[in-house]
């Protein structure tokens, strides 16, 4: 036996409510974060991610309250992020009940942020989120919610982020996000090969087979999805049962 492949539901919030949209645009309401967290905790989720995708300064106290409400429902690990720009931002998120923080744009602009977070909380608490988009012959790092190119190669950035202290990589395919056409297998596999930390694949999930592919061919350690779980297109328990039947190690029964 070895590590189980993790299934991670993601709650994209506007600070207070869960929202969803395609390719980071056209948001609509998808429920109360604490209610969804309780449901996923009971259904066998291995971990939960809660993001503040608006990350507006004036909404920050609202998001911290959301983290507190979500953490109160969970007996599994919680990762929180969105708009974390400093050690102080991360500290407030962890104090509110998150076990790990995820950083994206701020780390691209100032990679030392990763070493500061890692020194304070340990590498196991620092997740680098990389939004990647295919461009001619490589994957480009996208920032500001997937809208702007950082003109960096995603594989180089992944390696540098790990050297700086990130203990896990959450890689989202901007090309696949919201399409429900399956994870980006070449991207996930390339990232997993480039680094020696766990990799969470994100963007494009719909069918159980998509998860099997990203664990087997994509070499992902964990897979993240949002709306297919929120809309009950896919139940976490049935998904894990399917994966167990495919001889993919998962925490099942859970």
């Amino acid at each position: 036996m070895s590590l189980a492949h993790r299934i991670i539901p993601c709650l994209d919030t506007d600070g207070a409510r869960v929202v969803k949209g395609v390719n980071f645009v056209g948001l609509r309401d998808a429920g109360d974060p604490a209610e969804l967290a309780a449901r996923y905790n009971a259904e066998g989720a291995d971990e939960l991610v809660v993001l503040d995708i608006a990350a507006a300064r004036d909404r920050r106290p609202t998001f911290l309250e959301t983290i507190r409400r979500v953490a109160a429902e969970l007996a599994i690990p919680l990762t929180a992020g969105g708009g974390i720009r400093s050690l102080e931002d991360a500290r407030s998120v962890i104090r509110a009940g998150a076990d790990k923080v995820t950083v994206n744009t701020a780390a691209v602009e100032r990679p030392e942020l990763l070493s500061e977070l890692s020194a304070e909380f340990g590498a196991q608490a620092v997740v680098i989120a990389i939004d990647a988009k295919f461009k001619t012959d490589h994957w480009d790092v996208m920032v500001r919610g997937g809208r702007e190119s950082a003109a960096m190669n995603a594989l180089d950035w992944a390696q540098r982020a790990v050297e700086n202290g990130a203990g896990e990589i959450l890689v989202t395919s901007v090309d696949r996000d919201g399409t429900q056409s399956g994870f980006d297998i070449p991207l996930t596999s390339a990232i997993a090969t480039a680094v020696n930390v766990p990799v969470i694949a994100s963007g494009g999930a719909k069918l159980p087979q998509h998860f099997a592919e990203v664990f087997q061919r994509g070499q992902a350690d964990a897979a993240l999805a949002a709306s297919i779980f929120h809309d009950s297109i896919q139940s976490i328990r049935e998904l894990k049962q399917f994966l167990a039947e495919q001889q993919i190690e998962v925490r099942y029964p859970c």
């Binding site: 070895s2 007996a75 076990d99 608490a125 203990g167």
Partner: protein
């Protein structure tokens, strides 16, 4: 029963407190020698850097009270770093001295495996243990660490009641007299984590 949680600022103290609440057990956070001296049941949660825990014990003059409490025989549970701190030292901060309750040093897991060892893994049970009552080798627990107590670096695996494997075999759970410790996070390990905490509290009652 009142449980004392040693609070040195580690991120998982509130999680452990919530996990105990779900078992209808109240707990108090302790950060002074007097509070530790008053403890009837002591839990040392820990996550992050080994140095942060050891320095906090020394800077707040908690090392002696903690050792005296453990040696007096009260039920003790160390979680994650709270297990690692029981040994002589750790490669994560070689200049510091641990609580020296068990011989040996904590070392990094091999780079042949992905580090940190993060996620849900199973246990290899070593012997009968009230702490692991009702828990089998098929059950998963949540780990998040890069350093561990391995049989080769701790000379003896005798206090271990469960091992786990990530690139190398390491000590996942200890039960020795009144000292319990786990490398994984029961407060983050769902229903089975709650079961382990309940087992500890039942033995402590």
């Amino acid at each position: 029963m009142n449980v004392t949680l040693l609070d040195y600022g580690a991120g998982n103290v509130p999680s452990v407190q919530r996990a105990l609440q779900r078992l209808d057990v109240t707990s108090e956070r302790a950060s002074t020698p007097a509070q530790i001296a008053a403890a009837k049941v002591l839990i040392l949660p820990g996550v992050g850097h080994y140095a942060a825990l050891i320095r906090a014990l020394d800077e707040n003059s908690l090392r002696q009270p903690v050792l005296e409490k453990i040696n007096s025989g009260i039920p003790f549970l160390g979680i994650c770093l709270g297990l690692q701190a029981l040994y002589d030292s750790s490669d994560e901060a070689p200049e510091l001295t641990g609580l020296q309750l068990f011989p040996g040093r904590v070392s990094t897991l091999p780079r042949t495996a992905k580090l940190p060892h993060m996620g849900w893994n199973t246990l290899q049970l070593q012997r009968e243990s009230p702490l692991l009552d009702g828990i089998s080798g098929k059950d998963y627990f949540y780990f998040a660490h890069s350093y561990a107590a391995t049989p080769s670096n701790t000379k003896s695996a005798s206090p271990a009641v469960a091992m786990s494997y990530h690139g190398e075999e390491f000590i996942a759970a200890i039960e020795y007299k009144n000292i319990c410790a786990v490398q994984f996070h029961p407060e983050k390990s769902g229903a089975l984590g709650a079961r382990l905490l309940a087992n500890f509290l039942r033995a402590a009652a």
